[in-house]
């Protein structure tokens, strides 16, 4: 009789088993332990990076599929095997989508960076307030804004940098707005967004002017108020700017190409394939739904009730049909589905335990190749 072979296992398999066990043990322990225990052992803070790590490992496999496609279809094209023309079509389509998606992604990165460069204005103002409060003992915490030399820059230097950066951003936004206004085919909605953006940038400009005159070594309540005001207005400016950038990004070449390939081709092809189900189920129903026994007759009656109860025609046939349909779905159907799910769930649990503990049959265990 075959026995589970745990004799001579190589190092790689041993490491795999240990890693599997530790990974499974961690998530199981995290799942069953109460929150108080998790917090006591400091696991809560580590959980997110650990979870992200597992997600990253999973996405590394994305390269496997690409390698297989390139090797299978590439070799077909190179050696001109049967159907090589279709492989050419596949590889060209693959290349087109990769190039388009990459350029659309780079464009969206550029938009994000530009939006963040405006967003950081409000964050900077807020950080100045918080650091001053920490330094003066009005707030608990650790000052984060340290220069490379290790010391916090003087308040006046920071405020001066903030003012300078704010003026730079406002000037850039004014220039962008002027350029966008004269772009052909700018819609009315876009003009309205540009008006709001200009309004927001004027408000930031006004708040910045107030700060130019700040020169004290520490912030008074009026100074803090001015900085808060700038932070709030900068947030509004960032939101307005983000809306405009998103609107503009939707009309770039890369976005239009992406929309053509994705919405125009991919989405519609997927929908068309799914639509095949409609005709296939009709063909399958015609071919296979035969009343040959009592059970099949019962199944047919149930199917008719559920189908007719769902459509408006059904209630004209018999007014209680929707209610009977509801009962069929709530009672017998739920019972059957729960039984199937329970069985499959238990089987999955047993197999999961086997995988976790690396209890393999001889089919899967180590052998010399």
């Amino acid at each position: 009789m075959d026995t589970v072979s745990i004799g001579q296992v190589d190092i790689r398999r041993r490491v795999t088993r240990i890693a599997t066990f530790l990974g499974g043990a961690y998530f199981f322990f995290y799942f069953v332990s109460p929150q108080s225990v998790i917090e006591h052992w400091g696991i809560q803070e580590a959980h997110e990076p650990i979870s992200n790590g597992f997600i990253v490992i999973g996405t590394m496999a994305i390269g496997l599929g690409i390698i297989n496609i390139l090797s299978t279809h590439g070799s077909k094209v190179i050696f001109k095997r049967k159907g090589w023309q279709y492989s050419v079509a596949l590889l060209l389509g693959f290349l087109a989508i990769v190039v388009t998606t990459a350029s659309q992604w780079l464009e969206s990165l550029r938009v994000s960076e530009r939006v963040q460069s405006v967003q950081v204005l409000g964050d900077f103002a807020q950080r100045i307030i918080e650091d001053d409060q920490i330094v003066s003992g009005r707030r608990e915490g650790v000052v984060k804004s340290m220069s490379p030399a290790g010391a916090l820059p003087p308040l006046s230097a920071r405020i001066s940098a903030l003012v300078h950066y704010s003026e730079l951003q406002v000037r850039q936004i004014h220039a962008d707005v002027a350029r966008w206004r004269i772009t052909p085919n700018t819609s009315q909605a876009q003009h309205e967004l540009l008006n709001e953006l200009e309004q927001a940038s004027r408000e930031v400009e006004g708040a910045t002017v107030t700060l130019r005159h700040l020169s004290s070594a520490s912030l008074g309540s009026a100074d803090e108020g001015a900085l808060q005001d700038l932070s709030r207005k900068a947030g509004k400016l960032a939101s307005a700017f983000s809306l405009v950038m998103r609107k503009n990004a939707s009309s770039t070449l890369s976005q239009r190409m992406y929309d053509l390939l994705y919405n125009g081709l991919f989405n519609h092809l997927g929908s068309a394939m799914f639509a095949l189900l409609g005709v296939y189920i009709a063909a399958a129903a015609y071919r296979a739904f035969r009343i040959r026994s009592v059970e099949s007759a019962l199944m047919m009656i149930a199917a008719l009730i559920v189908m007719l109860g769902q459509i408006s025609f059904g209630k004209h046939l018999y007014s209680e049909l929707p209610a009977i349909r509801q009962w069929l779905l709530e009672v017998p159907n739920s019972a059957a589905f729960r039984a199937i799910r329970l069985g499959a769930g238990v089987a999955g649990l047993m197999l999961a335990i086997r995988m976790w503990l690396s209890i393999e049959s001889t089919s899967f265990s180590s052998r010399s190749k």
Partner: protein, 286 residues
Amino acid sequence: MEPRRLIYLLMIIAVAAPVMFGLSQAPSRLVSAERMYSVVDTVEVKPGEVALVWLDFGPNTVAENEPQAVVLLEHLFRRRIPVLLLSQYQQAEGFLRRIPQEIAERLEREMVGQTWRYGEAWVNAGFKPGGAIFIQSLVNAADIPKFLGRDVSGMPISNFPAFASIGGVERVKIVGEITGLVGVFDSIVQFFQKNGYRPTLVHGCTSITIPEAYIFLDSGQLKGLLEGIAGAAWYSEVIKKHFPLSDNSKLLVTNTALSAAHIMIIALIFAGNVVAFVSRSRRSRG
């Protein structure tokens, strides 16, 4: 002509005719959709509280799931409940951008003077990988906007005043999952809860998954269910009853096409049985 090809032709005619001629019928009353409407309509949502809606569908199930997403989001927008939209299915990205924008524009045309702006009515958190692990982490997060980080255009979600003070998951009053089979519905049912907190969970499913969704509706884990296009059609009728200017004509046409297809399939089953019976009798006689 081969029977298979004739069947395909008949089905295409049955589905195409209502769409081409704009035929529409009142949808059948579906109790689960009606229940979902009253649940969404009566949930108390205070300032700072939000709805979290997953749109986990792609082009494959867009025909069924998009109408569901539209009716649910329309209802939430009408109630002025801020909606945090996200997806754990990468192909939903386009729908996350387009659908709420279209609804907002339609509502602004219907109710002149009122606005539904991005950042106030909804925020698009985009695609989030990780499945059940993500949901577990989301539920444990003390500050959901900080956990989700930025929206699809790179803006921190905490920048939007309507979403800045959400805090933990207890302030998510409505959770919606619109999906076929690719979503995280099972994980949401299992993990989106804490001691003393259960959200109002509503679900829009494709027709294939209706029997399975009923398990959760029956046990009370699900508070409302949209059963395919038919569910969305009845939901839109209920919305129209309360807001007569709401336009659901396109959805009703789609639902009528679905009804026509149902009738055709029933007719084909009947025809198949008649043909089988006749050939069986001939064989036994001959």
